[in-house]
Symmetry: C2
Protein backbone atom coordinates (compact mmCIF):
# COMPACT_ATOMS: atom_id res chain seq x y z
CA UNK A 1 0.00 0.00 0.00
CA UNK A 2 1.35 3.35 -1.09
CA UNK A 3 -0.26 5.13 1.84
CA UNK A 4 1.09 2.75 4.41
CA UNK A 5 4.52 2.78 2.81
CA UNK A 6 4.56 6.54 3.07
CA UNK A 7 3.52 6.39 6.67
CA UNK A 8 6.51 4.22 7.34
CA UNK A 9 8.90 6.05 5.11
CA UNK A 10 8.15 9.68 5.61
CA UNK A 11 5.99 10.25 8.58
CA UNK A 12 7.18 9.68 12.11
CA UNK A 13 4.80 8.36 14.73
CA UNK A 14 4.24 11.96 15.73
CA UNK A 15 2.59 12.75 12.44
CA UNK A 16 -0.01 10.01 12.74
CA UNK A 17 -2.33 12.61 14.15
CA UNK A 18 -2.76 14.33 10.83
CA UNK A 19 -1.60 11.74 8.35
CA UNK A 20 -3.39 8.68 9.61
CA UNK A 21 -3.48 7.12 6.17
CA UNK A 22 -6.32 4.69 5.92
CA UNK A 23 -6.76 4.27 9.63
CA UNK A 24 -9.88 6.25 10.41
CA UNK A 25 -9.01 7.46 13.87
CA UNK A 26 -11.93 8.42 16.08
CA UNK A 27 -11.91 11.47 18.30
CA UNK A 28 -11.03 9.46 21.37
CA UNK A 29 -8.13 7.88 19.52
CA UNK A 30 -6.80 11.24 18.48
CA UNK A 31 -7.05 12.57 22.00
CA UNK A 32 -5.05 9.66 23.33
CA UNK A 33 -2.42 10.24 20.68
CA UNK A 34 -2.11 13.91 21.47
CA UNK A 35 -1.54 13.35 25.13
CA UNK A 36 0.65 10.30 24.88
CA UNK A 37 3.29 11.36 22.37
CA UNK A 38 5.97 13.85 23.33
CA UNK A 39 6.64 16.64 20.90
CA UNK A 40 9.89 17.66 19.26
CA UNK A 41 10.13 20.52 21.69
CA UNK A 42 10.24 18.26 24.71
CA UNK A 43 12.63 15.88 23.04
CA UNK A 44 15.08 18.61 22.11
CA UNK A 45 14.82 20.80 25.19
CA UNK A 46 14.04 24.06 23.44
CA UNK A 47 12.97 27.23 25.15
CA UNK A 48 9.27 26.45 24.82
CA UNK A 49 8.97 26.14 28.57
CA UNK A 50 9.54 29.85 28.95
CA UNK A 51 6.03 30.55 27.69
CA UNK A 52 4.29 29.49 30.88
CA UNK A 53 0.52 29.66 30.82
CA UNK A 54 -2.05 30.86 33.31
CA UNK A 55 -5.78 30.91 32.64
CA UNK A 56 -6.80 33.94 30.58
CA UNK A 57 -10.26 35.49 30.61
CA UNK A 58 -11.61 35.00 27.06
CA UNK A 59 -13.54 38.26 27.26
CA UNK A 60 -10.38 40.15 28.19
CA UNK A 61 -8.49 38.61 25.26
CA UNK A 62 -11.36 39.46 22.92
CA UNK A 63 -11.55 43.08 24.08
CA UNK A 64 -7.80 43.61 23.65
CA UNK A 65 -7.83 42.02 20.20
CA UNK A 66 -10.82 44.12 19.16
CA UNK A 67 -9.46 47.44 20.40
CA UNK A 68 -5.98 46.97 18.90
CA UNK A 69 -7.07 45.66 15.51
CA UNK A 70 -7.11 49.10 13.92
CA UNK A 71 -3.38 49.57 14.62
CA UNK A 72 -2.12 45.99 14.43
CA UNK A 73 -4.54 44.31 12.03
CA UNK A 74 -5.77 40.76 12.23
CA UNK A 75 -2.81 38.50 13.01
CA UNK A 76 -0.88 40.66 15.44
CA UNK A 77 -3.97 41.78 17.31
CA UNK A 78 -5.00 38.19 18.06
CA UNK A 79 -1.50 37.55 19.37
CA UNK A 80 -1.78 40.68 21.51
CA UNK A 81 -5.17 39.64 22.86
CA UNK A 82 -3.67 36.37 24.07
CA UNK A 83 -0.23 37.63 25.14
CA UNK A 84 -1.10 40.88 26.93
CA UNK A 85 -2.97 39.22 29.83
CA UNK A 86 -0.10 36.73 30.12
CA UNK A 87 2.47 39.54 30.12
CA UNK A 88 0.61 40.93 33.13
CA UNK A 89 0.05 37.68 35.01
CA UNK A 90 3.07 35.59 33.97
CA UNK A 91 5.62 38.04 32.56
CA UNK A 92 8.70 36.47 31.00
CA UNK A 93 8.80 36.32 27.21
CA UNK A 94 5.25 37.63 26.88
CA UNK A 95 6.53 41.04 27.95
CA UNK A 96 9.05 41.37 25.14
CA UNK A 97 7.77 39.21 22.31
CA UNK A 98 7.41 41.46 19.25
CA UNK A 99 3.68 41.33 18.62
CA UNK A 100 4.06 43.36 15.43
CA UNK A 101 6.45 40.85 13.88
CA UNK A 102 3.55 38.99 12.25
CA UNK A 103 1.58 41.93 10.91
CA UNK A 104 2.48 40.78 7.38
CA UNK A 105 -0.06 37.96 7.88
CA UNK A 106 -2.99 40.41 7.53
CA UNK A 107 -5.34 40.16 4.57
CA UNK A 108 -4.31 36.60 3.80
CA UNK A 109 -0.55 37.33 3.55
CA UNK A 110 0.13 41.00 2.83
CA UNK A 111 -3.22 41.28 1.11
CA UNK A 112 -3.03 38.16 -1.04
CA UNK A 113 -6.32 36.92 0.37
CA UNK A 114 -5.23 33.42 1.38
CA UNK A 115 -5.41 32.24 5.03
CA UNK A 116 -7.17 34.63 7.42
CA UNK A 117 -4.47 36.32 9.48
CA UNK A 118 -6.35 35.77 12.75
CA UNK A 119 -5.50 32.07 12.44
CA UNK A 120 -1.80 32.79 11.98
CA UNK A 121 -1.81 34.99 15.08
CA UNK A 122 -3.60 32.25 17.00
CA UNK A 123 -1.29 29.56 15.58
CA UNK A 124 1.83 31.39 16.68
CA UNK A 125 0.43 31.80 20.19
CA UNK A 126 -0.66 28.16 20.36
CA UNK A 127 2.71 26.89 19.12
CA UNK A 128 4.71 28.93 21.58
CA UNK A 129 2.42 28.28 24.56
CA UNK A 130 1.65 24.58 24.22
CA UNK A 131 5.21 23.62 23.30
CA UNK A 132 3.95 20.43 21.71
CA UNK A 133 3.63 20.00 17.97
CA UNK A 134 0.77 17.49 18.15
CA UNK A 135 -1.24 19.64 20.51
CA UNK A 136 -0.66 22.66 18.29
CA UNK A 137 -1.64 20.62 15.24
CA UNK A 138 -4.90 19.46 16.80
CA UNK A 139 -5.73 22.88 18.21
CA UNK A 140 -5.12 24.79 14.97
CA UNK A 141 -7.16 22.19 13.10
CA UNK A 142 -10.04 22.67 15.53
CA UNK A 143 -9.67 26.42 15.22
CA UNK A 144 -9.90 26.22 11.41
CA UNK A 145 -13.07 24.12 11.76
CA UNK A 146 -14.46 26.66 14.21
CA UNK A 147 -13.60 29.56 11.90
CA UNK A 148 -15.14 27.89 8.86
CA UNK A 149 -18.34 26.76 10.54
CA UNK A 150 -19.22 29.62 12.87
CA UNK A 151 -21.49 32.51 11.99
CA UNK A 152 -19.14 35.42 12.64
CA UNK A 153 -18.34 37.78 14.12
CA UNK A 154 -19.56 36.42 17.45
CA UNK A 155 -17.93 39.20 19.49
CA UNK A 156 -19.99 42.30 20.08
CA UNK A 157 -18.27 45.26 21.71
CA UNK A 158 -20.03 47.35 24.34
CA UNK A 159 -19.48 50.28 21.99
CA UNK A 160 -18.49 50.00 18.34
CA UNK A 161 -15.20 51.73 17.55
CA UNK A 162 -15.53 52.26 13.79
CA UNK A 163 -19.10 51.50 12.73
CA UNK A 164 -22.31 49.73 13.60
CA UNK A 165 -22.64 46.58 11.50
CA UNK A 166 -25.76 44.57 10.77
CA UNK A 167 -24.85 41.16 9.41
CA UNK A 168 -23.01 37.99 10.38
CA UNK A 169 -21.97 35.25 7.96
CA UNK A 170 -20.51 31.76 7.87
CA UNK A 171 -17.35 31.56 5.76
CA UNK A 172 -17.28 27.78 5.16
CA UNK A 173 -13.49 28.19 4.88
CA UNK A 174 -10.56 29.78 6.72
CA UNK A 175 -9.66 31.71 3.55
CA UNK A 176 -9.60 35.50 4.04
CA UNK A 177 -10.80 36.37 0.56
CA UNK A 178 -13.90 34.19 0.79
CA UNK A 179 -14.64 34.92 4.43
CA UNK A 180 -14.52 38.67 4.03
CA UNK A 181 -16.15 38.53 0.58
CA UNK A 182 -19.25 36.72 1.83
CA UNK A 183 -19.64 39.18 4.65
CA UNK A 184 -19.10 42.21 2.37
CA UNK A 185 -21.82 40.91 0.07
CA UNK A 186 -24.24 40.36 2.95
CA UNK A 187 -23.52 43.77 4.46
CA UNK A 188 -23.29 45.39 1.01
CA UNK A 189 -20.10 47.30 1.75
CA UNK A 190 -16.75 47.62 -0.03
CA UNK A 191 -13.40 46.50 1.35
CA UNK A 192 -12.01 49.86 2.38
CA UNK A 193 -14.88 50.83 4.66
CA UNK A 194 -15.24 51.36 8.37
CA UNK A 195 -17.84 48.57 8.37
CA UNK A 196 -15.43 46.01 6.92
CA UNK A 197 -12.70 47.03 9.34
CA UNK A 198 -15.16 46.79 12.23
CA UNK A 199 -16.17 43.30 11.11
CA UNK A 200 -12.59 42.05 10.89
CA UNK A 201 -11.81 43.54 14.31
CA UNK A 202 -14.73 41.59 15.77
CA UNK A 203 -13.65 38.41 13.97
CA UNK A 204 -10.19 38.86 15.50
CA UNK A 205 -11.81 39.24 18.91
CA UNK A 206 -13.87 36.11 18.29
CA UNK A 207 -10.79 34.06 17.37
CA UNK A 208 -8.72 35.40 20.27
CA UNK A 209 -11.53 34.42 22.64
CA UNK A 210 -11.94 30.94 21.15
CA UNK A 211 -8.17 30.31 21.20
CA UNK A 212 -8.00 31.25 24.87
CA UNK A 213 -10.91 28.91 25.63
CA UNK A 214 -8.94 26.08 24.01
CA UNK A 215 -5.77 26.98 25.87
CA UNK A 216 -7.66 27.21 29.15
CA UNK A 217 -9.13 23.74 28.62
CA UNK A 218 -5.70 22.35 27.74
CA UNK A 219 -4.17 23.97 30.80
CA UNK A 220 -6.95 22.84 33.15
CA UNK A 221 -6.37 19.26 31.93
CA UNK A 222 -2.71 19.40 32.89
CA UNK A 223 -1.45 20.05 29.37
CA UNK A 224 -3.64 17.53 27.57
CA UNK A 225 -5.89 18.57 24.73
CA UNK A 226 -8.94 16.69 23.52
CA UNK A 227 -9.49 17.45 19.83
CA UNK A 228 -13.02 18.16 18.64
CA UNK A 229 -12.44 17.39 14.97
CA UNK A 230 -10.56 14.78 13.03
CA UNK A 231 -7.85 15.86 10.58
CA UNK A 232 -9.27 16.73 7.17
CA UNK A 233 -10.47 13.63 5.37
CA UNK A 234 -9.04 14.66 2.02
CA UNK A 235 -5.52 13.98 3.19
CA UNK A 236 -6.61 10.73 4.80
CA UNK A 237 -8.08 9.70 1.48
CA UNK A 238 -4.76 10.41 -0.19
CA UNK A 239 -6.19 13.30 -2.14
CA UNK A 240 -4.73 16.74 -1.64
CA UNK A 241 -4.47 19.30 1.14
CA UNK A 242 -7.90 20.91 1.16
CA UNK A 243 -11.39 21.00 2.51
CA UNK A 244 -14.14 18.88 0.99
CA UNK A 245 -16.28 21.71 -0.36
CA UNK A 246 -14.59 21.59 -3.78
CA UNK A 247 -17.49 22.86 -5.86
CA UNK A 248 -17.61 26.20 -4.07
CA UNK A 249 -14.49 27.30 -5.94
CA UNK A 250 -14.34 24.78 -8.76
CA UNK A 251 -18.01 24.55 -9.68
CA UNK A 252 -18.88 21.23 -11.25
CA UNK A 253 -15.47 20.96 -12.88
CA UNK A 254 -13.56 19.61 -9.89
CA UNK A 255 -10.06 18.42 -10.87
CA UNK A 256 -9.19 14.90 -9.77
CA UNK A 257 -5.77 14.56 -8.18
CA UNK A 258 -3.65 11.65 -9.40
CA UNK A 259 -4.59 8.43 -7.64
CA UNK A 260 -2.29 6.56 -5.31
CA UNK A 261 -0.64 3.57 -6.96
CA UNK A 262 -1.41 0.48 -4.93
CA UNK B 1 -14.08 59.75 -1.58
CA UNK B 2 -14.72 56.63 0.41
CA UNK B 3 -11.20 55.38 -0.23
CA UNK B 4 -9.54 58.55 0.87
CA UNK B 5 -11.77 58.84 3.91
CA UNK B 6 -10.79 55.35 4.90
CA UNK B 7 -7.15 56.15 4.45
CA UNK B 8 -7.57 58.99 6.89
CA UNK B 9 -9.87 57.21 9.24
CA UNK B 10 -8.46 53.73 9.48
CA UNK B 11 -5.01 53.54 8.06
CA UNK B 12 -2.05 55.18 9.65
CA UNK B 13 0.72 56.67 7.53
CA UNK B 14 2.56 53.41 8.04
CA UNK B 15 -0.04 51.50 6.09
CA UNK B 16 0.30 53.65 2.98
CA UNK B 17 2.67 51.08 1.62
CA UNK B 18 -0.05 48.53 1.09
CA UNK B 19 -3.19 50.61 1.14
CA UNK B 20 -2.22 53.45 -1.12
CA UNK B 21 -5.82 54.02 -2.19
CA UNK B 22 -5.89 55.79 -5.49
CA UNK B 23 -2.29 56.94 -5.40
CA UNK B 24 -0.51 54.61 -7.77
CA UNK B 25 2.85 54.45 -6.08
CA UNK B 26 5.75 53.44 -8.29
CA UNK B 27 8.46 51.11 -7.13
CA UNK B 28 10.81 53.96 -6.31
CA UNK B 29 8.08 55.63 -4.27
CA UNK B 30 7.45 52.50 -2.30
CA UNK B 31 11.13 52.06 -1.62
CA UNK B 32 11.40 55.57 -0.25
CA UNK B 33 8.42 54.92 1.97
CA UNK B 34 9.82 51.69 3.33
CA UNK B 35 13.10 53.22 4.34
CA UNK B 36 11.77 56.53 5.58
CA UNK B 37 9.03 55.49 7.99
CA UNK B 38 9.91 53.93 11.33
CA UNK B 39 8.01 50.81 12.28
CA UNK B 40 5.95 50.14 15.36
CA UNK B 41 8.81 48.14 16.78
CA UNK B 42 11.20 51.04 16.76
CA UNK B 43 8.57 53.37 18.12
CA UNK B 44 7.73 51.09 21.02
CA UNK B 45 11.18 49.74 21.85
CA UNK B 46 10.36 46.06 21.69
CA UNK B 47 12.91 43.27 21.72
CA UNK B 48 13.18 43.16 17.94
CA UNK B 49 16.75 44.36 18.11
CA UNK B 50 17.80 41.07 19.65
CA UNK B 51 17.49 39.34 16.27
CA UNK B 52 20.69 40.78 14.84
CA UNK B 53 21.47 39.81 11.27
CA UNK B 54 24.65 38.78 9.51
CA UNK B 55 24.81 37.76 5.87
CA UNK B 56 23.69 34.16 5.34
CA UNK B 57 24.78 31.97 2.44
CA UNK B 58 21.57 31.24 0.49
CA UNK B 59 22.88 27.81 -0.49
CA UNK B 60 23.48 26.94 3.15
CA UNK B 61 19.95 28.03 4.10
CA UNK B 62 18.52 26.02 1.22
CA UNK B 63 20.44 22.87 2.15
CA UNK B 64 19.36 23.04 5.80
CA UNK B 65 15.72 23.65 4.82
CA UNK B 66 15.81 20.77 2.35
CA UNK B 67 17.41 18.26 4.69
CA UNK B 68 15.15 19.05 7.65
CA UNK B 69 11.87 19.16 5.75
CA UNK B 70 11.10 15.52 6.35
CA UNK B 71 11.07 16.05 10.12
CA UNK B 72 9.85 19.62 10.39
CA UNK B 73 7.72 20.09 7.28
CA UNK B 74 7.43 23.23 5.23
CA UNK B 75 7.05 26.19 7.59
CA UNK B 76 9.42 25.17 10.36
CA UNK B 77 12.10 23.95 8.00
CA UNK B 78 12.26 27.32 6.21
CA UNK B 79 12.64 29.00 9.59
CA UNK B 80 15.41 26.54 10.45
CA UNK B 81 17.19 27.15 7.16
CA UNK B 82 17.33 30.86 7.96
CA UNK B 83 17.88 30.67 11.72
CA UNK B 84 20.48 27.89 12.00
CA UNK B 85 23.29 29.79 10.23
CA UNK B 86 22.44 32.82 12.39
CA UNK B 87 22.48 30.73 15.55
CA UNK B 88 26.03 29.79 14.60
CA UNK B 89 27.25 33.23 13.53
CA UNK B 90 25.19 35.56 15.71
CA UNK B 91 23.83 33.44 18.54
CA UNK B 92 21.35 35.17 20.84
CA UNK B 93 17.68 34.36 20.33
CA UNK B 94 18.40 32.28 17.22
CA UNK B 95 19.86 29.60 19.48
CA UNK B 96 16.72 29.10 21.53
CA UNK B 97 13.84 30.14 19.32
CA UNK B 98 11.46 27.16 19.08
CA UNK B 99 11.63 26.34 15.40
CA UNK B 100 8.94 23.68 15.78
CA UNK B 101 6.41 26.14 17.19
CA UNK B 102 5.07 26.87 13.68
CA UNK B 103 4.85 23.35 12.33
CA UNK B 104 1.05 23.73 12.36
CA UNK B 105 1.46 25.96 9.28
CA UNK B 106 2.26 22.94 7.05
CA UNK B 107 -0.10 21.91 4.30
CA UNK B 108 -1.81 25.29 4.24
CA UNK B 109 -2.69 25.33 7.99
CA UNK B 110 -2.74 21.84 9.46
CA UNK B 111 -3.60 20.42 6.06
CA UNK B 112 -6.38 22.85 5.12
CA UNK B 113 -4.60 23.68 1.87
CA UNK B 114 -4.61 27.48 2.18
CA UNK B 115 -1.34 29.49 2.28
CA UNK B 116 1.83 27.48 1.56
CA UNK B 117 3.58 26.99 4.90
CA UNK B 118 6.96 27.94 3.48
CA UNK B 119 5.72 31.53 3.29
CA UNK B 120 4.64 31.52 6.93
CA UNK B 121 8.06 30.25 7.97
CA UNK B 122 9.70 32.95 5.87
CA UNK B 123 7.30 35.60 7.14
CA UNK B 124 8.06 34.80 10.77
CA UNK B 125 11.80 35.04 10.09
CA UNK B 126 11.42 38.30 8.14
CA UNK B 127 9.26 39.89 10.83
CA UNK B 128 11.62 39.00 13.65
CA UNK B 129 14.80 39.90 11.77
CA UNK B 130 13.85 43.14 10.02
CA UNK B 131 12.02 44.56 13.04
CA UNK B 132 10.10 46.90 10.78
CA UNK B 133 6.52 46.27 9.78
CA UNK B 134 6.75 48.09 6.44
CA UNK B 135 9.88 46.24 5.43
CA UNK B 136 8.27 42.94 6.42
CA UNK B 137 5.14 43.88 4.49
CA UNK B 138 7.09 44.68 1.32
CA UNK B 139 9.33 41.65 1.62
CA UNK B 140 6.51 39.14 2.19
CA UNK B 141 4.60 40.68 -0.72
CA UNK B 142 7.64 40.25 -2.96
CA UNK B 143 8.05 36.70 -1.71
CA UNK B 144 4.44 35.86 -2.56
CA UNK B 145 5.00 37.26 -6.07
CA UNK B 146 8.16 35.19 -6.38
CA UNK B 147 6.39 32.05 -5.16
CA UNK B 148 3.46 32.51 -7.54
CA UNK B 149 5.52 33.35 -10.62
CA UNK B 150 8.52 31.05 -10.36
CA UNK B 151 8.78 27.62 -11.91
CA UNK B 152 9.53 25.53 -8.84
CA UNK B 153 11.26 23.87 -7.24
CA UNK B 154 14.41 25.75 -8.22
CA UNK B 155 16.60 24.00 -5.65
CA UNK B 156 18.26 20.78 -6.72
CA UNK B 157 20.08 18.77 -4.07
CA UNK B 158 23.40 17.13 -4.80
CA UNK B 159 21.67 13.88 -3.91
CA UNK B 160 17.91 13.41 -3.59
CA UNK B 161 16.83 12.26 -0.13
CA UNK B 162 13.43 10.73 -0.90
CA UNK B 163 13.01 10.41 -4.66
CA UNK B 164 14.14 11.63 -8.03
CA UNK B 165 11.55 13.99 -9.49
CA UNK B 166 11.08 15.05 -13.08
CA UNK B 167 8.86 18.10 -13.31
CA UNK B 168 8.72 21.72 -12.21
CA UNK B 169 5.61 23.90 -12.30
CA UNK B 170 4.49 27.49 -11.81
CA UNK B 171 1.76 27.79 -9.18
CA UNK B 172 0.37 31.22 -10.17
CA UNK B 173 -0.62 31.57 -6.51
CA UNK B 174 0.84 31.16 -3.01
CA UNK B 175 -1.96 28.71 -2.15
CA UNK B 176 -0.69 25.27 -1.05
CA UNK B 177 -3.58 23.29 -2.50
CA UNK B 178 -3.17 24.76 -5.98
CA UNK B 179 0.62 24.85 -5.94
CA UNK B 180 1.01 21.23 -4.93
CA UNK B 181 -1.96 20.14 -7.05
CA UNK B 182 -0.50 21.51 -10.28
CA UNK B 183 2.80 19.84 -9.58
CA UNK B 184 1.16 16.50 -8.64
CA UNK B 185 -0.74 16.57 -11.92
CA UNK B 186 2.40 17.31 -13.94
CA UNK B 187 4.41 14.64 -12.14
CA UNK B 188 1.41 12.27 -12.04
CA UNK B 189 1.86 11.33 -8.40
CA UNK B 190 -0.48 11.29 -5.40
CA UNK B 191 -0.12 13.41 -2.28
CA UNK B 192 1.27 10.78 0.08
CA UNK B 193 4.26 9.84 -2.04
CA UNK B 194 7.99 10.24 -1.69
CA UNK B 195 7.96 12.31 -4.87
CA UNK B 196 5.51 14.88 -3.47
CA UNK B 197 7.47 15.11 -0.22
CA UNK B 198 10.69 15.56 -2.19
CA UNK B 199 9.12 18.34 -4.22
CA UNK B 200 7.85 20.22 -1.15
CA UNK B 201 11.26 19.87 0.51
CA UNK B 202 12.87 21.46 -2.56
CA UNK B 203 10.25 24.23 -2.62
CA UNK B 204 11.05 24.93 1.04
CA UNK B 205 14.74 25.11 0.13
CA UNK B 206 13.92 27.47 -2.74
CA UNK B 207 11.95 29.81 -0.48
CA UNK B 208 14.58 29.73 2.30
CA UNK B 209 17.21 30.68 -0.27
CA UNK B 210 15.14 33.49 -1.79
CA UNK B 211 14.27 34.88 1.66
CA UNK B 212 17.93 34.98 2.63
CA UNK B 213 18.76 36.78 -0.62
CA UNK B 214 16.22 39.44 0.28
CA UNK B 215 17.51 39.74 3.82
CA UNK B 216 21.10 39.96 2.58
CA UNK B 217 20.17 42.80 0.20
CA UNK B 218 18.30 44.61 2.99
CA UNK B 219 21.24 44.17 5.36
CA UNK B 220 23.83 45.26 2.77
CA UNK B 221 21.78 48.44 2.21
CA UNK B 222 21.95 49.34 5.88
CA UNK B 223 18.47 48.08 6.72
CA UNK B 224 16.70 49.52 3.70
CA UNK B 225 14.68 47.33 1.38
CA UNK B 226 13.77 48.16 -2.21
CA UNK B 227 10.52 46.38 -3.11
CA UNK B 228 10.28 44.66 -6.47
CA UNK B 229 6.50 44.57 -6.69
CA UNK B 230 3.69 46.92 -5.83
CA UNK B 231 1.02 45.83 -3.37
CA UNK B 232 -1.76 43.85 -5.01
CA UNK B 233 -3.89 46.06 -7.21
CA UNK B 234 -7.17 44.54 -6.10
CA UNK B 235 -6.92 46.23 -2.74
CA UNK B 236 -5.86 49.47 -4.38
CA UNK B 237 -8.95 49.26 -6.56
CA UNK B 238 -11.08 48.86 -3.45
CA UNK B 239 -12.03 45.33 -4.43
CA UNK B 240 -11.11 42.52 -2.07
CA UNK B 241 -7.97 40.88 -0.75
CA UNK B 242 -6.88 38.63 -3.61
CA UNK B 243 -4.83 38.18 -6.71
CA UNK B 244 -6.17 39.18 -10.11
CA UNK B 245 -6.39 35.72 -11.64
CA UNK B 246 -10.04 35.33 -10.58
CA UNK B 247 -11.14 32.97 -13.35
CA UNK B 248 -8.71 30.25 -12.33
CA UNK B 249 -10.91 29.40 -9.36
CA UNK B 250 -14.17 31.08 -10.29
CA UNK B 251 -14.33 30.30 -14.00
CA UNK B 252 -16.36 32.83 -15.92
CA UNK B 253 -18.69 33.39 -12.98
CA UNK B 254 -16.52 35.86 -11.06
CA UNK B 255 -18.44 37.46 -8.20
CA UNK B 256 -18.32 41.26 -8.10
CA UNK B 257 -17.60 42.70 -4.66
CA UNK B 258 -19.84 45.58 -3.57
CA UNK B 259 -18.65 48.86 -5.04
CA UNK B 260 -17.33 51.72 -2.95
CA UNK B 261 -19.88 54.45 -2.40
CA UNK B 262 -18.44 57.72 -3.61
Amino acid sequence: METEKMLDAEMSRRSLLINGGKCVVGVAGIAALVSAVPGLAEAKGTSYEKFQYKKVNPEEAAKIAYENYFDLWCASTVLKGIFDPLAKNVGGPYKTFPIESIRWAHGGYAGWGTLCGTLIGAGNAIGLITGNIETAEAMTNDLAFYYANTVMPVYKPAKAIKAEIKTTTKADTPVCHISVGKWMKAENVAFLTNERAERCARVAATIASKTVEMLNAWHAAGGKYTPVNKPLANVLNNGITSQNNCVECHGTNVPTPPAAKS
